[in-house]
């Protein structure tokens, strides 16, 4: 028991920094979500759950939830499937893994503010690289950023471009930890790659899968820069996500109270999603997590 108490001391430095620097702003933001607070004017007035009630009656709120869930689900699953495929490919590859690994990781280190601009130069109509390549075959491609369906697709691809490398790196690491003897014995039994991957390797790295999915889901819910630069929520409102709405409330309308309430709801929604992922991943063995 003495050991257990001693462990708390290890939390002190980190806890101190977090509570000094992060807890106040976070707490203050949550506190403000119960106030009518217009940044330009009078001091905040307490309105209880008024902001939340207003949001629940707001068609824009529900619309942006739908679009957010769609974009998050699309982006994270694309990243996971692609990341896993590439990681497994790397795992199987017997040569050239190191340089490939490094090169593949590069999109992840591009500064996010500019990453979106890089992609804009690819996807913009006419003078964008993608258009130019397709047009050289005399095909007129769709407007990647200007038609609702394609704009959502492009935004998902943009997120995947930056974060699939993260998935690859972590999943590749995970695959390498899987016990070789298990794989070999399965191969003896004549199991193919697919069986080995889904029956042996994936179950073995389940905690890791949860880790990457959770991290990505959280971040994708806050996904902002790329949408802001690529589509600015458009065309129409096709890519208007929760964070875009939060931004509009906080910085354009200066309604800090309502924006904070939306932030809290975003937090709850992503917690819920992660809870759902845990429930699905661990549906057979509940106690394990």
């Amino acid at each position: 028991m003495q050991t257990q108490r001693g462990l708390w001391l290890f939390l002190v430095p980190s806890g101190l920094v977090i509570s000094l620097v992060l807890l106040y702003p976070l707490g203050y933001a949550i506190y403000l979500s119960f106030f009518n607070y217009y940044l330009g004017g009078q001091p905040p007035t307490f309105i209880g759950f008024g902001n939340y009630v207003a949001l629940f009656g707001d068609e824009r709120f529900w619309g942006s939830i739908g679009k957010t869930v769609l974009i998050v689900a699309g982006a994270v699953s694309l990243e996971f499937v692609l990341g896993l495929a590439v990681a497994f490919g790397l795992y199987k590859l017997t040569f050239g893994v190191k340089p490939l690994n490094l090169l593949m990781f590069l999109p992840h280190i591009v500064t996010p503010v500019v990453a979106a601009l890089f992609l804009r130069w690819i996807f913009t109509g006419r003078w964008g690289l993608l258009d130019a390549i397709i047009m050289s075959f005399n095909i007129f491609p769709p407007d990647w950023l200007g038609t609702p369906g394609w704009a959502r697709f492009t935004v998902i691809v943009a997120d995947a471009w930056q974060f699939t490398p993260f998935m690859i790196l972590v999943l590749y690491a995970g695959l390498n930890t899987v016990d070789n003897s298990q794989i070999e014995s399965a191969q003896m039994d004549g199991a193919g790659n697919w069986t080995i991957l889904t029956r042996i390797m994936l179950p073995a790295i389940k905690p890791l899968i949860l880790f990457v999915l959770a991290i990505r889901i959280m971040d994708a819910f806050r996904f902002f820069d790329q949408i802001y630069v690529l589509t600015a929520g458009g065309p129409g409102t096709a890519t208007e996500t929760l964070t875009m709405y939060t931004y509009a409330l906080a910085f354009r309308l200066l309604e800090i109270g309502k924006a904070s309430a939306l932030g809290v709801l975003t937090l709850l929604l992503s917690a819920l999603t992660i809870g759902l992922v845990i429930a699905v991943l661990y549906r057979r063995d509940k106690g394990a997590f």
Binding site: L22, L39, F118, L175, T177
Partner: protein, 274 residues
């Protein structure tokens, strides 16, 4: 049952193709940075042109971006040096704790990561203003350390989870105190994991934009902020952004190349288990 040579070649080429597609935006941006705007955005795109390093020169020399690189480096390295050690300690504790307390803390940490950052910007500014720490290194570093903690702790905890408890117990029997168990027994085992965690922490601190925009000023401005100042409006700004954005990647690439052995070992050790 070794895979055949043809399968290996096909696999290799497929992965190469993927890599090339992935790198296209970066290569294209680099080409943009060495073209005059009239050529950079022409239709159809120009593949043959006279390269100019004018924009790279302007960015790094005339506009003195090397100053911001120093700021970025100071802030990012300090952040890693503080964040990773204290996060590692906390992670060790959380990996050894029994009972619901640790799980509560872990989920609390995640919640901090889930809250939209744009809403933290204003309270952060007010706090920094109140402490008279606007435009100073300590404020920015502390903010980044705090933001970094959830990720660092979660990641390091997963490494510690893989260190068998028997190892701890054996050390305890040998008379080690808790600190010695952590420092002399557990830490050496997870060292490869430290590199990976450091890399991700470094990336986060180095590329952070929003808080840097709000908390830094003329004395401490970081590279992402400096780049973002050349948003759009004039086409020259795009070329400048491209040049700066390519330049800002180099230190990280060099860092990764220098550490690749450690990173691969860290990865192979892997075990990023939750």
């Amino acid at each position: 049952m070794r895979p055949s040579r043809t399968t290996q070649m096909v696999l290799f080429l497929a992965l190469c193709a993927f890599t090339v597609v992935n790198l296209t935006p970066i290569i294209w941006a680099f080409m943009t940075s060495i073209k005059q705007p009239v050529d950079a955005f022409s239709v159809p795109p120009k593949l043959i042109f006279t390269p100019t390093f004018e924009f790279h020169y302007q960015v790094w020399v005339e506009k003195e971006f090397w100053r911001f690189l120093i700021n970025s480096a100071v802030i990012a390295i300090s952040t890693v040096c503080i964040s990773v050690p204290i996060g590692t300690m906390a992670a060790f504790a959380l990996s050894r704790m029994r009972g619901g307390g640790s799980r509560g803390i872990l989920f609390g940490l995640l919640a901090m990561r889930m809250f939209p950052h744009i809403l933290l910007a204003i309270p952060f500014f007010v706090l920094a203003q109140w402490l008279s720490l606007i435009d100073t290194y300590p404020m920015m570093i502390m903010a980044l350390v705090a933001i970094n903690q959830p990720f660092t702790i979660w990641m390091m905890r997963s490494f510690f989870m893989d260190v068998p408890l028997e190892l701890d117990e054996a050390a305890r029997i040998d008379g080690c105190n808790l600190w010695q168990v952590f420092y002399q027994v557990a830490l050496p085992v997870v060292r490869p994991g430290l590199w990976i965690t450091s890399l991700f922490s470094l990336l986060l601190a180095y590329n952070e934009f929003l808080f840097a925009l709000v908390l830094t000023g003329p004395n401490t401005k970081t590279l992402p902020v400096a780049i973002a100042e050349y948003g759009a409006e004039d086409l020259n700004y795009w070329s400048l952004s491209a040049a700066a954005a390519i330049g800002i990647m180099l230190p990280i690439v060099l860092f990764m190349m220098a550490l690749q052995r450690h990173l691969v070992r860290g990865l192979a050790f892997g075990a990023v288990k939750g």
